[in-house]
């Protein structure tokens, strides 16, 4: 077993923008280090969320047509999750309006701790 003091400062990068602090068992933004809540919960609960009309990304090219080149916001919205510290776009999800956002990453922290021994995957904050 690793002594808690030895692993307390180890953070493992889990996505482009998220890391887990194995000592405090918390999610963190890799850009600004802001805590995004307990690592056993969904990191999205620690983010700011916004439902974006996808037709702002892909605007219509014809007027007054049902099929206009723009996604239909009645059927599909882009839910954006921002780091509340720095505004980085941590994750997006295309969902029908009202569909629960996905709890996409649920890591076994004991297993992650074992993997943290692999220096490639870790860094000191």
């Amino acid at each position: 077993m690793d002594a808690p003091s030895r692993v307390s400062s180890v953070r493992v990068a889990v996505t482009e923008y998220l890391e887990i602090d194995l000592g405090t068992e918390t999610w963190h933004c890799r850009r600004c280090q802001r805590s995004l809540g307990p690592a056993r919960s969904n990191y999205k609960e620690g983010c700011l969320a916004y439902a974006r009309d996808p037709s702002t990304l892909y605007p219509p090219q014809v007027e007054g047509e049902r099929y206009s080149f723009a996604p239909d916001p009645a059927l599909c919205l882009l839910v954006e999750f921002y780091c509340p510290g720095c505004g980085t776009l941590v994750e997006t999800e295309a969902l029908p309006p009202g569909h629960p956002p996905t709890h996409d990453i649920e890591l076994d922290l004991d297993s992650l701790r074992r993997h943290a021994a692999d220096a490639d995957a870790t860094r000191k904050p």
Binding site: Y17, P71, G87, T92, G98
Partner: protein, 685 residues
């Protein structure tokens, strides 16, 4: 009759080795495995080459095929692809033939036999995917099997093209062959060829030629394996086959064990079920523990009375497309890779529908797998050594296979599928680079676009344009690769039948990765009675892209903007039809994209100036077109502030969000909202 679903699913994994195989594998000398596995690959490459040169259908010419070598029990040893899902699924009819016909005196398995099949209930994918299978004997002993498969764009179904969108049960889908023996003593039986030709009266020539092409490819493998057995002995080959399977399994297990344990989930939505417009959900939960992964599709919408259904083994086989190309791209393409994987595909979901279900568009039911698998595996792999393989998904089914049928200008009947539009999808962005522009067909990584000139010679179409489609790559720190836009005009002939398939027009099926955006969905355009041919005759300018068509109406005619899923229809000379291949999904936050790459993309017309300004927040110098770094930084800081201002804390967001729901009339095939459980029985006649 038939095979139960659990058996078919179990047959995807390798069967345990025999004592003789293990002993033979142990006896391999140093270098044997390396040398003779390359020999197998060379045999397969030769067979694939022969296959392409022998057949005529466009899918064959674009390389969307597989040729494979299987051990005597039917386990995949090596394959040249093409379409990895067929490499995996070809095991199932081989295992069926062995288990049902070996001791059946009216059939049996003998040297020189040629088996043939296409029915999904026996391990196939959908009717168009026809496969030739040959047992390989050496000194009277069964030592291997060879297989050759390619999609045949005609099946004698209710519509031309082999993937009828209007099908409501299997009875609408045309020729379905359980594994049958179509040849003995290395000779094809004329009566059975005649039967198939008779079935395929829309395209008899293609059917007969391509049956022969499949058999020729399978037979080339047979001859080369027999030569090899003569040279090195059957025991060495038996040991080599098992060693390759064990190598893949051992390496796959070690790699999986190196990733942290956990549960990873993804969902994807489409808006089209054959002829019906309805939302459907595909859901994947990957539970990874130690060296084992369970892929669970619970939460996928219920089966429906349209053609977008699959069976459990079809769903599982689609995972191969990702595994062999990304996570395990460097391992032998053998059945061993599937040994650490378990599949849960609940009965009654559209990925495991009842036996009477139409599955003519099973690949559409499963195409969301191309979105779901890269996401869950990327999230598994990011913390491990495979980070360079982390990637967003390719185009995910905004791509539209386009089918045509009729009499061509040479007086021949043709019914085929245009191979190149979907062989030009953009690839998903990776953790370190943009997705490849106009990459290929995400289902068949080696697929190439056939020459437009060949298509124009063989058929009645003139291509007005074929371009990379601007803004079609999902935006991100790394951009998804661009897709392709094409416009065809009916030329030469007074009329033809066309149709196209799609799973979405108004909904984004794709998902970006780590803040990247999915690629756009686009509709179809049909200009009825266009004056394109008159303009061409008069030497006048013709539209050069979708925007000139959609926004500027650059040719005259009656414009129809429509779903990408287009049922069969008659078109007349001069009619224009659009065909697209989707871009790939983006990776990472758009505001982190190198501004100089955005400037390059604008210069190369892959990103519009509007998208550069509004999505990427990059300021371009109006004179030089170069990025103004200072102004860009200011705009991006502003954009981040705007996100912080509009974003709501989770609890507050969810209060508003949970009150919303898509319109009821778009949930007819979805299942219960939002958990997609069956709410009504599906009745099929």
């Amino acid at each position: 009759m038939g095979v139960d679903r659990a058996t078919l699913l179990a047959w995807i994994k390798p069967s345990p080795p025999s004592a003789e195989e293990l002993a033979a594998a142990a006896r391999l000398a140093p270098g044997d495995c390396e040398i003779y596995s390359e020999k197998l690959n060379a045999i397969l490459d030769e067979a694939a080459d022969v296959f392409v040169r022998t057949g005529v259908s466009s899918m064959l010419h674009s390389g969307d095929l597989v040729v494979g070598i299987y051990d005597p029990a039917g386990n995949m040893v090596a394959a040249s692809c093409g379409v990895y899902l067929h490499a995996v699924s070809a095991q199932l009819p081989v295992k069926f033939v062995r288990s049902h016909f070996e001791d059946e005196p009216t059939v049996g398995i003998h040297e020189g036999d040629i088996f043939y099949c296409n029915d999904a209930l026996y391990g196939g994918i959908h009717n168009p995917d026809q496969i030739a299978i040959m047992p390989i004997f050496h000194e009277g002993q069964l030592i291997a099997w060879s297989c050759a498969a390619v999609h045949q764009p005609e099946t004698d179904a209710v519509e031309p093209g082999g993937m009828p969108g209007s099908a409501k049960s299997r009875h609408w889908e045309g020729m379905k062959l359980s594994p049958i023996k179509i040849g003995e003593h290395y000779e094809l039986r004329a009566d059975l060829l005649e039967m198939m030709e008779n079935f395929m009266s829309r395209a008899p020539r293609m059917q007969v030629i391509d049956v022969r092409a499949r058999v020729t490819a399978a037979d080339r493998i047979r001859r080369r394996i027999q030569d090899l057995a003569k040279a090195v002995g059957a025991p060495l080959l038996g040991g080599l086959f098992r060693k390759l399977i064990m190598q893949s399994e051992t390496c796959a297990r070690a790699r999986i064990a190196s990733w942290p344990d956990g549960t990873f989930r993804a969902v994807s939505f489409a808006d089209t079920v054959g002829a019906t417009e309805s939302l459907v959900r595909a859901a994947l939960t990957a539970r990874k523990a130690g060296e084992q992964i369970t892929l669970d599709f619970a939460g996928t919408s219920p089966e429906n009375d349209g053609p977008q259904n699959a069976f459990a083994h079809i769903a599982a086989a689609h995972v191969a497309i990702y595994l062999y190309a990304y996570a395990f791209h460097d391992l032998p393409v053998s059945a061993g890779t599937f040994a650490p994987l378990d599949f849960v595909v609940p009965e009654g979901c559209l990925l495991n529908a009842g036996s009477e279900a139409a599955v003519s568009q099973s690949v559409y039911a499963c195409w969301q797998m191309l979105t779901l698998t890269p996401i869950v595996f990327s999230k598994m792999m990011y913390a491990g050594a495979q980070r360079p393989l982390v990637a967003a998904s390719a185009g995910n089914n905004h791509t539209v296979p386009f089918v045509y049928a009729g009499m061509n200008q040479w007086g021949g009947k043709v019914a085929d599928l245009l191979g190149y539009p979907f062989n030009g999808e953009g690839l998903g962005a990776r953790s370190d680079m943009d997705g490849v522009d106009c990459y290929g067909f995400p289902m068949a990584h080696t697929g190439l676009g056939p020459d437009v000139e060949d298509v124009e010679t063989e058929t009645f179409f003139l291509h007005l344009f074929q371009n990379e489609l601007i803004d079609s790559g999902g935006p991100g720190k790394y951009r998804g690769g661009t897709g392709v836009e094409s416009a065809l005009v009916l030329y030469h002939m007074p009329r033809a039948v066309v149709s196209s398939m799609g799973a979405t027009t108004r909904v984004l099926i794709g998902q970006g990765l780590f803040g990247g955006y999915p690629p756009p969905a686009v509709p179809g355009i049909h200009v009825v009675g266009s004056d394109a041919l008159e303009k061409l005759g008069a030497g006048e300018a013709l539209p050069r892209d979708f925007r000139e068509l959609a926004e500027k109406r650059a040719i005259k005619g009656q414009y129809r903007f429509e779903r990408t899923a287009r049922p069969s229809r008659m078109i007349g000379k001069g009619d224009l039809i659009s065909v697209i291949a989707s871009g790939g999904a983006g990776y990472g936050d758009v505001l982190e994209r190198d501004p100089s790459l955005v400037a390059r993309d604008v210069r190369e017309q892959r990103v519009s100036p509007d998208a550069a300004a509004e999505i990427y927040c990059v300021a371009l110098d109006p004179g030089s077109g170069e990025a103004d770094l200072e102004e860009t930084a200011r705009r991006r800081a502003q954009a981040r502030q705007a996100r912080l201002a509009r974003g709501k804390p989770w609890a507050e967001f969810m209060v508003q969000w949970s009150k919303q729901k898509p319109p009821e009339d778009m949930l007819s095939c979805y299942g219960s909202w939002p958990d997609a459980k069956p709410v009504r029985p599906v009745v099929r006649l």
